[in-house]
């Protein structure tokens, strides 16, 4: 058969049987595919392609660990080396999910030990990981190279010690913002003296002091070290010594930037920074003061990502620093920089694509502190390429947002958090409907949206009408009736994740999405008007969904206080704790 015709009718039976395409070629070609989406598409072409794809795949991404079981996974993909797993619903980051909910990695590791003995990489987000699991991982997988834990819980620094001790080929240890039991910094001493393979070391979020000599020696002998993010126990002069050992660093997270340096020490520090020509990412800088920040300037020429979200900088300090960062694409700051600092962002960072402004005091609403709509406006005038924003503020107006999205129509991620729930436009006292209406109308590429402020169903009408590329939507304290949620479920074809809290959406809204949920990863609804009966109905109608209700002492009879709905090929969870009811 003509190869061309084979390509044109790839899913015909003839094409499969008569294809001149040798399997080996197909395997080699498919092996080059990286993107998960591309691979999924390829696997749907034909049986041959399905099998070629599954044998050639080495990396798998599972966005919801309960959507599939480890057994099903290993059966389909026999040759996996890298696994990315996400566990708990995102609202667990904000304490909305009780302890012991699940998402334990151990059952996965047991199966991997049998089927993926050559496993190299594990990247976990919002999973429960015990020290026992970490030790198991370290001992059973001799080829293990790369461990990344973000927002996980259940382990301690002892688990890290097991990793350091036994993983001879470790290249990456990336520990970020976990609920870790930080017992001591001794784990760092566990890397053997002949261990030299480390390329990534991130322990910035740990608090216990580490032995500096151990660290210095480790950095000195790991010549391939590209990413080093230390914790606050490391002082400035210690940092200088590390930089001297690792001038080829691409990403640096400093320790505390507060210390009394002698002039010589300061000069040495500056020289060390000057030697870091490859630095693209800079973070840490806790307790940074204007006194020593200038030492950094020489290292900033190639910076593309500056993470100041733990450095309470003032506006002038930020402005001076930014003047040295012409290539900046991503910037994370605290709202201590205020609107004035954001004006400096607008003036200096014309290439900026991502801005995140975190609140220093999320719970004390001090009127005169933090950022407002003017800061955001200023950034939008100067940074026309802005596509990702996360903005915590005390006040906002519809007009400002409308202007912002006119300036920056390329938004893919728009996450606005007006910190007082249900707060209207502070100038007109109207709901913020028009603001988000403007966002969805002007930003056709929008994938992720988080709304806040006083919002009626109109916001959701806008979203359903215009946000055709929306994949993730987060809603809190918003909406007027079931209609709002219905608009979104009916209007957003690409919706994958919907998380809702404290909104007046009830059973009618929930059930309007019956056919939708199977095309989504998950739905979270808490403190809404949904009842047990509504959830039971959903569960009955849609057997391929897991409908889980979390019992809570705070809920009344018949009310479903926390509802988590997700598609799964693995059936109901077998490890659900008593407070999770699977309907």
């Amino acid at each position: 058969m003509d190869p061309k015709r084979a390509k044109q009718s790839p899913d015909s039976a003839e094409a499969i049987r008569l294809s001149p395409f040798p399997d080996e070629a197909l395997d080699r070609i498919l092996a080059l595919l990286d993107s998960h989406k591309d691979r999924s598409s390829a696997s749907l072409v034909s049986k041959a392609w399905y099998h070629a794809e599954r044998w050639s795949r080495s990396c798998v991404f599972i966005g919801n660990c309960y959507s599939v079981s480890p057994e099903i996974l290993v059966h389909r993909f026999p040759n996996i080396r890298r696994v990315i797993l996400k566990g708990k619903p995102r609202f667990s980051d904000f304490n909305l999910v009780p302890q012991n909910w699940g998402a334990d990695i151990h059952s996965w590791l047991l199966v991997f030990a049998d089927h993926y003995p050559f496993l190299e990489e594990l990247r976990l987000k919002r999973m429960t990981v015990s020290d026992q699991s970490l030790e198991f991982l370290a001992l059973k997988f001799h080829n293990f190279k790369s461990l990344s834990l973000l927002s996980c819980d259940g382990f301690s620094t002892d688990g890290l010690a097991a990793i350091a001790t036994h993983c001879r080929n470790l290249t990456e240890l990336d520990i970020q913002e976990n609920g870790i039991d930080d017992i001591s910094g001794k784990w760092l001493n566990c890397f053997p003296d002949n261990f030299t393979s480390l390329e990534v070391l991130n322990f910035a979020s740990l608090t216990s002091e580490v032995n500096f000599d151990s660290l210095e020696r480790l950095v000195a002998r790991c010549n391939s070290l590209k990413i080093l993010k230390v914790n606050q126990s490391i002082t400035l002069d210690q940092l200088q010594r590390l930089l001297v050992r690792a001038p080829r660093l691409m990403e640096l997270g400093s320790g505390s930037f507060l210390q009394d340096l002698t002039p010589q020490q300061y000069t040495d520090l500056e020289t060390a920074f000057r030697g870091c020509r490859n630095l693209q990412t800079l973070s840490g800088l806790s307790e940074a003061s204007s006194l020593y920040l200038p030492a950094l300037y020489p290292a900033c020429a190639n910076l593309t990502f500056l993470n100041l979200s733990y450095a309470a900088l003032q506006s002038e300090e930020l402005a001076k620093l930014l003047a040295h960062c012409p290539l900046l694409r991503r910037l994370w700051v605290l709202d201590t920089v205020e609107d004035k600092g954001l004006e400096a962002v607008g003036q200096n960072c014309s290439l900026l694509e991502e801005l995140r402004v975190f609140p220093e005091h999320p719970f004390d609403q001090e009127i005169d502190h933090g950022v407002t709509e003017s800061g955001f406006l200023a950034v939008s005038y100067g940074c026309r390429k802005l596509s990702y924003v996360l903005y915590f503020c005390g006040q906002m107006t519809n007009a400002a947002v409308a202007t912002i999205v006119q300036n920056c129509p390329d938004f893919t991620h728009f996450r606005l958090c007006i910190m007082n729930p249900g707060q209207p436009d502070y100038l007109t006292n109207e709901p913020m409907d028009e603001a988000f209406g403007a966002v969805v109308k002007n930003c056709p590429k929008l994938q992720r949206l988080a709304v806040s402020g006083l919002l009626t169903d109109l916001t959701f009408e806008y979203i359903g009408t215009y946000a055709k590329n929306l994949e993730t939507l987060s809603v809190a304290f918003a909406g007027s009736s079931d209609w709002g949620m219905q608009c979104v479920l009916e209007g957003c074809p690409k919706l994958r994740k919907l998380e809702i809290r404290d909104c007046p959406f009830g059973n009618k809204a929930l059930l309007s999405g019956l056919e939708k949920y199977e095309s989504m990863r998950s739905l979270w609804m808490s403190a809404c008007k949904v009842t047990m009966n509504g959830c039971k109905l959903l569960a009955r109608e849609m057997p391929r969904l897991n409908v889980e209700v979390m019992e809570d002492e705070e809920s009344n009879e018949g009310q479903a206080y926390k509802v988590y709905v997700y598609r799964s090929v693995a059936g109901p969870r077998r490890d659900a704790p008593p407070f999770v009811l699977t309907l």
């Binding site: 980051d93 999320p362 915590f392 707060q423 502070y426 008007k529 018949g558």
Partner: protein, 347 residues
């Protein structure tokens, strides 16, 4: 439910109210008109509805009654909260608006909010709705303004029904986070009730920044002891909340915070069983809810006794308080006289 019916409702409600609550109140002038809603949380105060909406009532009298009853109304006012109209150290309606508007407009405002809420139940709106003038179909046009949480607090000018898109007095919502209320007692803005998980900041970040700025933190001046969470329940509300008593230094702050937290619930109780507003809208159900719409804040102490909040000094209170409950005044009858005696004794 159409407005005329609403008027009837209110009227009936008032009568019912008077009956129900007369035992709680001793008004010197023998208030026969019974327009004395006791607005413990500033949540629902019907008498203004009457004054503003029901033409059958005589307005001036209603106003007078309101004023007169203030002096003797049992309200959820806690020691330390101001009572500009009485000069007595008595419990007072939450002045949740800037003093500029005064107590009256607060009362009106709250009532307005509630009446419109009733009005809107036929539209199946839920607790966080805002007064929606007329029967605007959902999602069309702009809603009149008021903050969600502050819906009960939002000042609504008393008077006839508002046209769409009215703008409440500006001072209320200017940087509305800091509710600097009458008396200017606080230099720091009232600490907000911590709704769990809001704002959505990861615990790790929260804890790290909190630790870092401990020295600068001036909110409570209590860096040492950990949080003191107590459950707050409200009759008829679908679910509990928790508050950290350490966030507050005085009763006033607590009452402000609770009001914000529960402002929607008086209305929300209709929909609590989730069958939607419409089914619940039988007259009797509405009347029931309305009759019971007065609330008092009570707490359960270490001995398991339920007491009215506000009788003891703050420090003692947080030591002994195990649970908070916003009770219907009709349920709290047994508690009231004690409080009354105490406050009388204080005079």
């Amino acid at each position: 439910m159409s407005p005329p019916l609403l008027g009837v409702e209110c009227g009936t409600r008032d009568v019912a109210k008077v009956t129900g609550s007369s035992s709680l109140k001793e008004s010197p002038d023998g208030l026969s008109l019974g327009l004395k809603e006791r607005n413990y949380l500033g949540l629902s105060d019907c008498s203004t509805v009457d004054s503003s909406m029901v033409s059958g009532q005589s307005d001036p009298e209603a106003q007078v009654n309101k004023l007169n009853t203030k002096a003797t109304e049992l309200r959820l006012g806690l020691p330390g909260s101001q009572s500009p109209e009485r000069g007595l150290d008595e419990k007072l309606l939450f002045p949740l608006l800037p003093s500029k508007d005064g107590i009256k407009s607060v009362v009106s405002g709250n009532k307005r909010g509630f009446s419109d809420a009733i009005d809107n139940f036929s539209d199946e709106k839920w607790m966080f709705h805002r007064p929606d003038e007329g029967k605007q179909s959902l999602g069309q046009g702009k809603f009149p303004t008021s903050a969600v949480i502050n819906v009960m607090i939002a000042s609504r000018p008393s008077g006839p029904q508002q046209p769409v898109k009215e703008v409440p007095p500006k001072p209320l919502l200017e940087r509305s986070n800091g509710i600097n209320l009458s008396g200017g007692e606080n230099n720091a803005p009232a600490a907000k009730a911590q709704v769990i998980g809001w704002p959505p900041v990861r615990s790790f970040r929260k804890n790290t920044l909190a630790a870092a700025s401990k020295d600068n933190d001036e909110v409570d001046g209590k860096p040492g002891p950990g949080p003191l969470f107590v459950k707050v329940s409200m009759d008829g509300a679908p679910y509990l909340r928790k508050v950290d008593l350490r966030n507050y230094c005085k009763y006033y702050e607590l009452s402000v915070a609770l009001e914000k937290m529960f402002s929607g619930f008086t209305l929300g109780q209709y929909g609590a069983n989730g069958t939607g507003g419409r089914e619940m809208m039988s007259e009797s159900k509405v009347k029931d809810a309305l009759r019971g719409s007065d609330y008092v804040l009570t707490y359960e102490d270490k001995d398991g006794d339920w007491m009215l909040v506000g009788d003891v000094p703050w420090e003692m209170f947080i030591d002994t308080c195990k649970k908070l409950k916003i009770m219907k005044s009709s349920d709290a009858i047994g508690l009231a006289p004690r409080a009354m005696e105490k406050s009388k004794a204080r005079n």
